[in-house]
Subunit: 199 residues, 2 copies
Amino acid sequence: MRVSRIQAEENRQTVIDVASRLFREHGFDGIGLKDLMKGAGLTQGAFYKQFQSKDDLAAQASRRALESAFGRWSAAADPQDPLGAVIAFYLSMGHRQERMDGCPVVALGSDVARQSVDVKASFEAGIKNYLEMLGRWIGETDGEDSTDKSMAILSTMVGALVLSRAVNNKRLSKRFLQAAAKSVSMTSSASVAQQGSLE
Amino acid sequence: MRVSRIQAEENRQTVIDVASRLFREHGFDGIGLKDLMKGAGLTQGAFYKQFQSKDDLAAQASRRALESAFGRWSAAADPQDPLGAVIAFYLSMGHRQERMDGCPVVALGSDVARQSVDVKASFEAGIKNYLEMLGRWIGETDGEDSTDKSMAILSTMVGALVLSRAVNNKRLSKRFLQAAAKSVSMTSSASVAQQGSLE
DNA sequence: ATTATCTATAGATCTATAGATAATGC
DNA sequence: ATTATCTATAGATCTATAGATAATGC
């Protein structure tokens, strides 16, 4: 029944991967250790040789989820119009539907407020990465308050998706995403728009 | 042990009130019927004469929470500058800290995606009220896309608070709220600002 | 007679631990 | 000899139900 160290480490990583998806799907309180381990092809008994507690896994799975989300942003970012490309997939009905692989801030944001310092630290690190990336895409025009803009844009994107998932009406869901896309485009090019209106 | 119909109805309302606050504090899955009923001064056994299921209570408590939040918006809205007044209390560190009495979309938004149609219906109705109110405050200038603006503003406000609660760093929390306030002000007066830049 | 609430309990599930097992690593 | 995983279990908690109780409402 024992397994090599390498295999054991691989199992650990699998558990974290699986948890990062299942927590997003069911919430931190919505799934138990038994099902988390089963998702990785293991039994519950193996859990505490790999993790200190459920909260410990929550913190590591959160970190993994945010890293994965960051990777998707990087992959989607078209060099020509990176922000536009990210908006196109983030503020889409497809993203609204795929909770398990979608943005962890949307899927777990409300819950994180109730979680441990460690879980919040995972989210904080991931959120800072989002902001840095956004800042690189929009910041070059005016410099000074590009962080403020990045924060506002991220807020709008996260909020729109949360709201979009909180209502039954699909049309309303879609409108939230479209309205946010429009607003984010305007915010990101605010100084350009003002220059434009001076012509 | 029996109680008059009037008292029973009063108890029912108390349970809904208490649940609307305790769900916001602990999440739908984070608190059990025993503690919810204890909060209303009753025992668990009385629950199923008043509600069909925990989900039934969740839907009613959600409705109540959103009504209460709407009331706070109305109360805060200064006739001179209603949006400014609401922004001032909504995007504040005070609101960030008071999960139990704060906006239910922020406190439960991520969880709602996983809840029943009934819970979502409660949220949808409340969200529509928010939008209507915002539309009245900002819509008169350009009319046409005032709903889009309201949606973008609500998204930014909700997202900023979710993000603000998801990080440990208080300074970062505050910056999210401030950046959102700035952005919302600009969005709400977008046409005015463009006119201004033409002078 | 009806019924709102109580105590008690069923049956499931939760986190965490204990001890057995069988393969690894020295 | 060590240890990663397994089965089994402790003890708590969860939702929901059953039956008793005592006051209301007719």
